[in-house]
């Protein structure tokens, strides 16, 4: 009789059956194989946790782009390079003998349906994030008569960060001096900061050459960031707000009376809320009321909901003096408790003339063919990372991590903990025999490799070694122009660089 090391619970409960089973099948406990769909922070942290807490789980990471890292590469601002230090850990994960990276692979496509992954792998973790954005839902949003309309901040960020599909974005920063951003989150602040920072300060970062050139030629001097509710309901964090206070030659304008009134009204609650209190103190210390003394301004505007984008009469001259559009807002008042405040329209309206308008009111996940999807909440239904179907039943072997699991909120640290919890669920399910059971002979490394081969994935994928070649190319290209990196922004070019050696 072979002595097999089985997970403890199974061994104790089914000892006699186990002994008979092993006499019959003569197998050693096999390695378990987990697929991760989406090679961003959530996927890599889930993989890291699986590596750290097991000895026998292999992880294959699938990513639709040739390049890994997701929003760490395409979302984090160029002037926040320290935030991207997390990629060192991601690289350690990719470098493990138990991990394989398959870039340039679209799961859910003809080539590789989710069902094929689920039948070959013991577990599949969906961590593909959020690739769309919430619309304002107002007339004029999509432009007219050749006018661009409202641009998603997500796309603007992706543009300056080199996401290939965003490179075609029409960004005009020369026809006018004012930009309006709708939304009170960190993405909105990133956009404001990139628009108002001296381009010379961005010249050493990994911002794309095209974006840097556009910013150098920019005539934009004023950014107004508008939100529907008040100062105590903002979604951005103090670090990013503090960075706005440090931009030289710029007026940071807000309605200080409103801030003071809200802080006074909710003083007791605010005293118990460390982070908000610090933020309000920062606002009161570093802002001015209306009035321009500097050539640049950043206005933080409250209690306004956009209702329409109004274009000037066709044929009107476009110049820095005559902005091409006005965005109309309804003025709100707040109702309800401070931590559940509702914006209620007052019937008063105000127009803000401007050039580019960005909407920054949240990212949105999209469904993956073959996986459940909650259409109302726009996330994959799950209980603590274990995916459920529409009726709430667990879908065996399917898991979710990151924004597609909880919604598109949270910084890298949040996603790390979230992904760890999902990986822990995978590990628990393996240890309880729910998945990765040794009697499940249909699933194995051989089955995985056969599936990868027959689907053609091995022909077209980008491996970790190949990504590293592209990585080196970008870093070297950056050295030539004094930048930390010069990103390749076209997929065909990426693939030709990778394959030319």
């Amino acid at each position: 009789m072979r002595a097999c090391v089985l997970p403890v619970a199974t061994t104790l409960r089914t000892a006699s059956r186990t002994v008979r089973h092993f006499a019959a099948s003569a197998c050693l406990p096999r390695d378990k194989n987990v697929a991760v769909v989406g090679g961003g922070a959530a996927g890599f942290y889930a993989a890291a946790r699986l590596l750290a807490k097991t000895k026998n789980v292999n992880v294959d990471v699938f990513e639709q782009l040739p390049t890994p890292y997701g929003l760490v590469r395409f979302g984090v601002a160029p002037d926040h390079p320290e935030v991207k230090n997390c990629t060192t850990k991601f690289d350690q994960v990719s470098g493990s003998p138990r991990v394989r990276y398959f870039g340039n692979v679209q799961v859910g496509s003809q080539q590789l349906g989710l069902d094929r992954l689920c039948s070959a792998y013991d577990g599949v973790v969906l961590s593909y994030g959020a690739s769309e954005d919430r619309r304002l839902g107002i007339p004029g949003e999509d432009g007219e008569n050749g006018r661009v309309g409202v641009i998603p901040a997500r796309r603007f960020v992706a543009w300056y960060n080199g996401l290939p599909e965003a490179q075609g974005l029409r960004v005009d920063l020369e026809s006018y001096d004012k930009v309006v951003i709708v939304g009170h989150g960190n993405v909105a602040l990133d956009c404001a900061r990139i628009l108002l920072t001296d381009p010379a300060d961005l010249a050493t970062t990994d911002i794309t050459a095209n974006a840097l050139e556009t910013l150098r030629n920019s005539k934009v001097r004023h950014v107004e960031m508008v939100g529907r509710r008040g100062p105590l309901q903002v979604a951005f964090t103090t670090k990013e707000l503090r960075e706005m206070t440090k931009i030289p030659d710029m007026d940071f304008i807000c309605d200080r009376e409103l801030v003071a009134a809200e802080c006074s009204k909710w003083a007791e609650w605010l005293d118990a809320s460390r982070s908000l209190k610090r933020m309000m103190d920062l606002l009161m210390k570093h802002t001015v009321g209306e009035g321009r003394r500097q050539k640049k301004s950043f206005t933080l505007s409250f209690l306004k909901s956009p209702v329409e984008v109004v274009y000037d009469q066709p044929g009107a001259e476009e110049s820095a003096e005559a902005p091409p559009q006005r965005i109309r807002f309804e003025v709100n008042r707040l109702e309800g408790a401070v931590d559940a405040a509702r914006a209620v329209g007052t019937g008063a309206f105000v127009d803000i003339p401007c050039g580019m308008v960005l909407r920054s009111i949240g990212y949105v996940s999209t469904p993956l063919a073959g996986a459940p999807f909650n259409k109302r909440r726009k996330i994959i239904p799950n209980i603590a990372g274990r995916v459920t179907d529409d009726s709430g039943e667990l879908v065996s072997g399917l898991y979710a991590a990151g924004w597609v699991k909880r919604g598109p909120v949270g910084v890298i640290a949040t996603t790390m903990q979230d992904a760890y919890r999902t990986a822990d669920a995978v590990i628990m399910d393996i240890s309880n025999g729910h998945i990765g059971n040794d009697s499940d002979t249909g699933r194995s490394r051989d089955a995985v490799d056969q599936m990868l081969d027959s689907s053609g994935v091995l022909e077209t994928c980008v491996t970790n070694a190949q990504w590293k070649r592209l990585d080196a190319h970008e870093t070297e290209a950056g050295i030539k122009t004094g930048k930390s990196r010069e990103k390749v922004t076209d997929i065909d070019r990426m693939l030709s660089i990778i394959r030319s050696e």
């Binding site: 230090n85 670090k239 603590a384 640290a413």
Partner: protein
């Protein structure tokens, strides 16, 4: 010039205690990593995340210089923040910390389906 060695104890979320000795001037995040203590450090000590969050003894906490605005901004986002919390990467070992006990905050709640209990590893 010999720098002094300082020994402290990390207490992991599950109660496991790890004694760690490091050179004066080492930051607590580095020290934890050198001793395989279960402390993260996503931004690698750049004060750009909150994952190396540690909880200090009150007496040690009070004896340290105030955190910078930048550190406090990151602590704002730390899970399980306490009155004696600091970012490990911003606190440097001094001889006065000899014997100090450093608690790692517990992570997020764990959810279990059907009352299943986690297996210990």
């Amino acid at each position: 010039m010999l720098s002094k060695e300082v020994t402290v104890t990390f207490i992991e979320p599950d109660g496991n205690e790890v004694q760690a000795t490091g050179e004066e001037g080492t930051n607590l995040m580095e020290l934890a990593h050198e001793n395989d203590v279960d402390l993260e450090g996503a931004c690698e000590g750049a004060c750009a995340c909150s994952t190396c969050h540690v909880i200090l003894d009150e007496s040690v906490f009070d004896s340290l210089p105030e955190p910078t605005d930048e550190e406090n901004d990151m602590l704002d986002l730390a899970f399980g923040l306490t009155d004696t919390s600091r970012l490990g990467c911003q606190v440097l070992l001094t001889p006065e910390m000899e014997g100090m006990r450093i608690k790692l905050p517990s992570a997020t709640r764990n959810f279990y389906v059907d009352g299943a209990k986690p297996s210990h590893h």
